[in-house]
Amino acid sequence: MEEIVLETQNLTVYYNGRPAIEGISLRIPRRRITAIIGPSGCGKSTLLRCFNRMNDLIPSARVTGRVLFEGVDLYGPDVDVVEVRRRIGMVFQKPNPFPKSIYENVAFGPRIQGIRDRRRLDEIVERCLRAAALWDEVKDKLHQNALTLSGGQQQRLCIARALATEPEVLLMDEPASALDPIATMKIEDLMRELAREYTIVIVTHNMQQAARVSDYTAFMLAGEDRVGRLIEFGPTQQIFTRPRDRRTEDYITGRFG
């Protein structure tokens, strides 16, 4: 049996009082890559954003049900959102480095946690850039503006930046959809590498990507009512070869979506 890190129980998210996703119950195993797939508008990103409470930033969003992280309800009354986001990192669809130096991008998280010691910061920056497979490309230009990097490098920088807060889980929202195939391949290799230490949840609309990198796959679909629901969850191989639900099979064989 896999050890479970994150678990949603009957999770429903409303935007302006209207449900966007409904009744999601899902268990994310530790140090595995779990892919959430499904057609546009099925609520994949909405679900992902419940795991680090990014939905809090949308005033009209309301969440019911439970999201357990190491057994603690993330939406419980005594939970510190800042701590949640530190321990559950996120990488976004479009690379979004700060218009600061490469070094300062990675040092951002540690700095807001109050780490000032230069040597410790140097050590964190190097370790995270190495972990994100970017160190060799940028080690001679750490103080250059991060926006001078290529799109693929920027995205790996964003991964390094997320690693610098020492999270246990990395959420990735279509992290390669804005990148070319070679940069995409590098990100996928990196994900496999990171899965030795981190739990990764990736949202992707690219089924091949889900099949290539993930250990588990969740398939979501919005019905006629445009409310996203979890259709099927299981080991990636089983989902792609022997789906139990007819709709999953239709989707992965490209009949719609």
Binding site: N52, M54, L57, P59, V82, E83, R85, R86, G89, M90, F92, K94, N96, P97, F98, P99, K100, F108, G109, R111, I112, Q113, L147, C158, R161, A162, A164, T165
Partner: protein, 315 residues
């Protein structure tokens, strides 16, 4: 076969020839282009004309008064028997009122911009932003009397030795007037920072204040600085408030409690007075005007340069 295709080609070629209607249309296009160019050039030529007048009138002034005296003499008494033509007291007066105004307007303007862009709910923002901008629509003469008849008496309770005309009251009122300039331009700069950067910072565990201070403000810094410089330029050129409330006594001081005279107020004083045209005394206003123009020009150019650089920050 050959004949047919040639005549068909002839018909198509004839269609390519410009008819009368097309020619009229082309003339119309040209005329409109000319009109638009003229409209665009009006302000350019006006500016050039103003510069020309300033220079032409200032030249005879500088033939009689040396540039060194103009820039270094600590007294400005062109209207008295004992004439001195040192612009320093007027520059000091302008600097003093502007400094007081900016000391108030920069922090208050920036803080309200941060509130509007980063904290205010959409509904509050929709009400507050236009309300702030209304402040900019109040005629400056009203601000002037507000300074003289309301702010000064109020300040006198706290600072008993405040003179009736003083730089402090005029400066503070001018500061209130330029708050909307700073808050509006700074807010535009802050608001233009992509939401994706805020998301990135929140996702790293930053609090709202940390997002504002460490991500949004640095990213918008050049826009904010540009708003400060434009505000400084506005303060230097402001006339009505200082003419009414700051006094007409050109003394070289940095004490904001005292009556002073700014460059602009001096120009008003001479323009409205009975100084005969064509005299040296009258020409002083062109020399002062030239200095004023150059100062604000430099400030505006700096602001433009900074705004240009700021446009390059994202992609």
């Amino acid at each position: 076969m050959g004949l047919m295709s040639r005549s068909a080609a002839g018909i198509y070629a004839a269609r390519l020839q410009r008819g009368m209607a097309t020619r009229w249309r082309e003339w119309g296009e040209l005329a409109i282009q000319g009109l638009l160019l003229f409209a665009a050039m009006v302000s350019v030529f006006t500016t050039l004309g103003i510069v020309a007048v300033l220079v032409i009138e200032a030249v005879p002034f500088f033939q009689q008064v040396s540039l060194i005296e103009f820039l270094t003499d600590p007294q400005w008494t062109p209207l008295f028997a004992q004439k001195h033509f040192g612009i320093l007291p007027l520059v000091a007066g302008t600097f003093l009122t502007s400094a007081v105004a900016l000391a108030l307007a920069m922090p208050v303007g920036l803080l309200s911009a941060i509130y509007l862009s980063e904290y205010a709910p959409a509904r509050v923002r929709a009400i507050l932003k236009p309300a702030l901008e209304v402040l900019a629509g109040i005629p400056t003469v009203v601000y002037g009397y507000f300074a003289l008849l309301f702010v000064t008496p109020l300040l006198k309770r706290v600072i008993p030795d405040l003179e009736t005309f003083n730089a402090l009251s005029a400066g503070l009122t001018m500061g209130i007037m330029i708050i909307p300039l700073i808050s509006s331009l700074s807010e535009d700069a802050l608001y233009a920072v992509p939401g994706s950067l805020r998301e990135a910072a929140y996702a790293l565990g930053a609090t709202r204040l940390e997002v504002a201070l460490r991500v949004v403000i640095p990213a918008a810094l050049s826009g904010i600085v540009a708003s400060f410089i434009l505000a400084a330029s506005r303060a230097i050129g402001e006339t009505m408030i200082v003419a009414i409330a700051a006094g007409q006594r050109p003394i070289l001081t940095l004490d904001p409690r005292r009556a002073i005279e700014t460059m602009t107020a001096y120009i008003v004083q001479v323009s409205l007075g009975d100084t005969p045209h064509g005299t040296l005394e009258f020409r002083t206003i062109f020399a002062v005007g030239l200095v004023l123009f150059l100062l604000t020009l430099v400030f505006n150019l700096i602001a433009l340069r900074i705004i240009e650089r700021y446009r390059e920050v994202y992609r």
